[in-house]
C-alpha cells in the first residue's frame, strides 16, 4: 500500500513534454538494442559498429572536438524548438532560420571591416536578428490569421533554401569570385576563435552554453518567460488573466527564430568562415528531436544535443572503420525518438516482466 506514497511535491518537476528522464534513458538503451537487431538482420557486426561509433566520437582530441562541434548548433537549435514549444508553438523552421542566420553573419563578416570587438558580436547579432525576423513571419500569421505554424515554418524553409541558392549562384549578390557557389571568406575580425589546438572546436560552444543558461533564466525567472509559458499551457487562461496571447506568440517565434539564426551564425563564423548553401547538414531537423528528448528544458537540451553530437560525429568513423553506412545513425535517431515516446506504453509491460522475473527467482 505504501508503495504509491510519493510526495506530491515531486510532481512539480513534471513538464509538458512527451517523456521523462528515465524514459529517455530507457529509450536510448532500447534503441541501441533494436538497432543491433537491425544490423544483425543484415548480417552486419553490430558490436563492431557501435564500438566504431564510440571510437569516432571520443577516441582522440580531434574526434571529441568534432563531437562538441556538432553539439554546438544542436544546442542552439534545440533551445529554439524548446522555447517555441513552451509557448505552444511547433517551430519546424529552424533549418531555414539557420540558413538565414548563417547568410547574414557571413555577409557582415566579409562585407564590413571593423575591429574584432565590434565585428564579431555584430555578425552574431545580425544572424540572430535575421533568424528572428524570419521567425516573426510564421509567428504573425499564427497569431493574427490563425495559420498553423507547422505549415508556414516548413514552407518558409524552402523559401529560405531557394533564396540562399540564389545569393551564391552565378550572378548572385553574395557570390565569391570563384568557381564554387560560395560567399567570400569572412574576415579574421569576425571569426570565432578556435579554442582547442588540433581540433576545429570554436568558442561557439561557450556561446551555446551561455544561451542555454539565458534561455533557462528567461523562461523560468522573468515576467515575459512566465507569460509565454502561461500561453503555452493554456492560452485561454492567459488571456483571461490579461496576457495577450497574440503578442506572446509573435515574440516566442521571434526568439525561437533568433536562436536558430544564432546557430547558423556560429556555424559560419566558427567552422566554415564562409557561406554556402548546404552548410547545415540538417541541424534544424535534429533540433526538434533534441528539444523533445531534452524535455523542453535547457539542461535537457544540452544533454540531448550532446547525445546527437556523439551520434553525428561517431557515424562518420563508423562508416570509415566498420564500413557501415552512416545512415544507420539516422535509424538509431529515429529509434531513440520512437522508444522514448512510446515506452509510456511499454513501461507497464516492462515492469510486469521485471516483476515476473523476480517472482521466478524466489523459491
Amino acid at each position: 500500500m505504501a508503495k504509491n506514497k510519493q510526495p506530491l511535491e515531486e510532481r512539480k518537476l513534471s513538464l509538458l513534454s512527451l517523456v521523462s528522464p528515465t524514459q529517455f534513458i530507457l529509450g536510448i538503451i532500447l534503441a541501441f538494442i533494436a538497432g543491433a537487431l537491425f544490423l544483425w538482420a543484415f548480417q552486419e557486426d553490430a558490436i563492431g559498429a557501435y564500438a566504431a561509433l564510440l571510437k569516432g566520437a571520443f577516441s582522440s582530441n580531434r574526434y571529441i572536438g568534432e563531437t562538441l562541434l556538432s553539439t554546438t548548433p544542436l544546442i542552439f537549435g534545440g533551445l529554439a524548438v524548446a522555447l517555441g514549444f513552451r509557448c505552444g508553438l511547433f517551430n519546424m523552421g529552424v533549418e531555414g532560420q539557420i540558413v538565414f542566420g548563417g547568410m547574414m553573419a557571413a555577409y557582415i563578416g566579409y562585407a564590413w571591416d571593423l575591429p574584432k570587438v565590434i565585428h564579431l558580436p555584430l555578425a552574431l547579432l545580425g544572424g540572430a536578428l535575421v533568424g528572428g525576423l524570419w521567425g516573426a513571419i510564421p509567428g504573425y500569421l499564427k497569431a493574427y490569421h490563425k495559420i498553423h505554424e507547422v505549415i508556414t515554418t516548413i514552407m518558409l524553409n524552402y523559401i529560405a533554401f531557394a533564396i540562399a541558392d540564389y545569393m551564391i549562384a552565378v550572378g548572385g549578390p553574395m557570390k565569391a569570385d570563384s568557381e564554387l557557389p560560395v560567399s567570400p571568406d569572412i574576415l579574421a575580425s569576425a571569426r570565432l576563435e578556435r579554442i582547442w589546438p588540433g581540433t576545429r572546436l570554436s568558442a561557439g560552444i561557450f556561446i551555446a552554453l551561455l544561451m542555454a543558461v539565458l534561455v533557462w533564466f528567461f523562461m523560468f525567472k522573468t515576467r515575459l518567460g512566465y507569460k509565454m509559458r502561461a500561453v503555452g499551457f493554456n492560452a485561454d487562461a492567459a488571456e483571461y488573466a490579461g496576457i495577450n496571447p497574440q503578442k506572446m506568440t509573435v515574440l516566442a517565434m521571434v526568439l525561437s527564430g533568433a536562436l536558430g539564426g544564432m546557430a547558423g551564425a556560429v556555424e559560419v563564423l566558427g567552422v566554415h568562415y564562409k557561406f554556402y548553401a548546404a552548410f547545415s547538414p540538417g541541424y534544424g531537423w535534429d533540433a526538434i528531436a533534441v528539444a523533445l528528448l531534452g524535455l523542453l528544458h535547457p539542461v535537457g537540451v544540452v544533454a540531448s544535443a550532446f547525445l546527437f553530437g556523439v551520434l553525428r560525429s561517431g557515424s562518420i568513423t563508423m562508416q570509415a572503420i566498420a564500413g557501415i553506412s552512416k545512415e544507420v545513425v539516422s535509424i538509431l535517431t529515429a529509434l531513440i525518438i520512437f522508444f522514448s515516446a512510446t515506452n509510456k506504453t511499454l513501461q507497464p509491460l516492462l515492469e510486469r516482466a521485471i516483476k515476473n522475473l523476480g517472482r521466478g527467482d524466489s523459491p
Binding site: 500500500m1 504509491n4 506514497k5 510519493q6 510526495p7 506530491l8 511535491e9 510532481r11 512539480k12 513534471s14 509538458l16 525567472k221 522573468t222 515576467r223 515575459l224 512566465y226 507569460k227 509559458r229 502561461a230 499551457f233 493554456n234 485561454d236 487562461a237 492567459a238 488571456e239 483571461y240 488573466a241 490579461g242 496576457i243 495577450n244
Partner: protein
Amino acid sequence: MTTAIEMRNIVRQFPGVLANDHISLTIEEGEIHGLLGENGAGKTTLMNILSGLAVPDAGEILLNGIPVHFGSCLDAIEYGIGMVHQHFMLVPVFTVTENIALGNEPKKGIRLNTALARARVTELSARYGLKVDPDALIRDIPVGMQQRVEILKALSRGARIMILDEPTAVLTPQEVEELYAIMRSLREAGQTIIFITHKLQEIMEITDRVTVLRDGRVVDTVGTSDIDEAGLARMMVGRDVVLRVEKEQHEAGEVKLRVKHVSASDSRGLPALKDVSLEVRAGEIVGIAGVAGNGQNELVEVITGLRSQESGEIFLDSLNISEMTPRERMYAGLGHIPQDRQRRGLVMDFSLIDNFLMGFEDSPPFAKGPMLDYAAAEQFSRESIQMFDVRTPSPHVLGRTLSGGNQQKVIVAREFQRDPAVLIAAQPTRGLDVSAIEFVHKKLIELRAQDKAILLISMELTEILDLSDRILVIYEGEIVGSFEAGQATPEMLGLLMAGSQVNQTGEQEIASPHQNGEEGGADHG
C-alpha cells in the same frame, strides 16, 4: 428485500490520500440509494471500483452474496453494473441509435443492422419511459436527452444496477424533474440505482436510503425518511452548516458597472446578446438567472474584454472601458471569477504559485524589473492558501492535482486579493460541495458589505434567489425580466428562463427598462 451489492472494507490509496478507508456499503435490490459526500470524500473512487474502472487495494465486492473481481469495466457490465458518468461518453456526430449500439452492434454481414438496433432502442425506450429520438444526432439534442441516451446505453447492455454520477449537475430544473421521473420508473421496473450527489435536496427528493461519506469513510447509512437536510449536512461536513445564506440588509450605493445597449455574437458568429443593458451598484449583488447558453457567457466575456461587442458601451464608474484590453479592465477595478475554471481560471500545469501570480505578474511586489520575485510570489501563495483554506500539500503542486473545490478556492482567493470594485462572478460555485459553497457565498456577501458591486451569473436558481438583491432573467441573449429580491419566485423565474412570457398582472414588471417587450415571447413562445 435482498441485497444486490455488498462492498466490504474497501481500501483505495492514492499518493498522499486515502480515498477509501475501509468502506463497507450494502445496496438493496430495487432501491434508489443515495451516495452523499463532499468533493474528495471518496464517492467517485468508490463507484469507479464498483464499475471496474479502479481496483481496490483491499476489500471485497459481493454480488448477490458471491465475491466478484472486476478487472475492467467490461467485467462490471458483464455482472449488470452500468455507470452513467458526469461527462457523457457519446459520439456527437452519431445518432442516438448508433451511440447506443456502439460496442454492441447487431450486425448484418459487416454492416450495422440499423433496423434491429433502432428497434432495440425503441423497445427499451418504451419499456422504461425514456423518451429519445432514435435518429437524432447527439450534437443536436439537449443535454437532458443525451443523459437518457447514456442510461439507455447502460440498459441495453443489461445493466440491473445503475450508477448515476452527479447526474443533475448538467441539467436544468425541468430536466431534473424528468430525470427523477425516469429514476422512479426504473425503480418500479426492478432496477437498482446508486445516485451520487452532493446536493442534500436531491437526496431528500428521490432516494430511499442514503450513505454519507466523509474523508474516505462511511459516516452512516440511513433511511431517507428518518433524516432531514440539516442532519445530512451535519453528517456530511461534520459540523452544523448554514444552508440558507444569511445576509444583512445593505444599502446599495452609486452605480459601479453600467452596461449600455450591448450586442454581441457568439463564436459561431450568431447573435448572442441583443441590446442588453444593466446596472450594478456598489454594495449590491445582481443575479442573472437563465438556462445555460442564453448569452451569459458572451455577456461575461464582453464585460471582461475577452470578446468584443458589436455595439453598445460598458462603463466602470464613469470610465468607458468598452475598448480596453482585459488587463486594463482588471487594473481599472474589474474582477472576474470565470465560469470554466479549468479552461479560463487556472493553468492546470502551472504550480499554485504560478497560478496565484496570474494577472499580478506585472505589478509590485512580484515584478522586479523584467524579473519575477518568486519569493514574494510564494509568500503570497501561502497567505492566500491559508486565508481561503485551500487544501493542498504545498503551493508547489500543479493546479491539476487539486480537487475542483480547491481549484475554485484558488481562483476566488486570487480574485479577492485584487480587491476589485466590481466582481463578475460566473458560476462561482459550480461543482462545489456544501462547505465550499457556503464559503464562497460568505465571501461574496462580505464583498457586498464592503460596498463592492457584484454581478452573479448562475444556473442555480437557489443561488440566485439566495444571494441577489436584484435578479435579471436572460433568455436568448435578452434581458426578459427584472425583479427586486423577494419579489421573484422560482416558478416565475423558471417560466421566464424557459422563454414563456409572464403576463400575470401585478406580479412583476416583465420588461427591463431597455428592452422591447413583445419580441421574446412572440418569436419563441
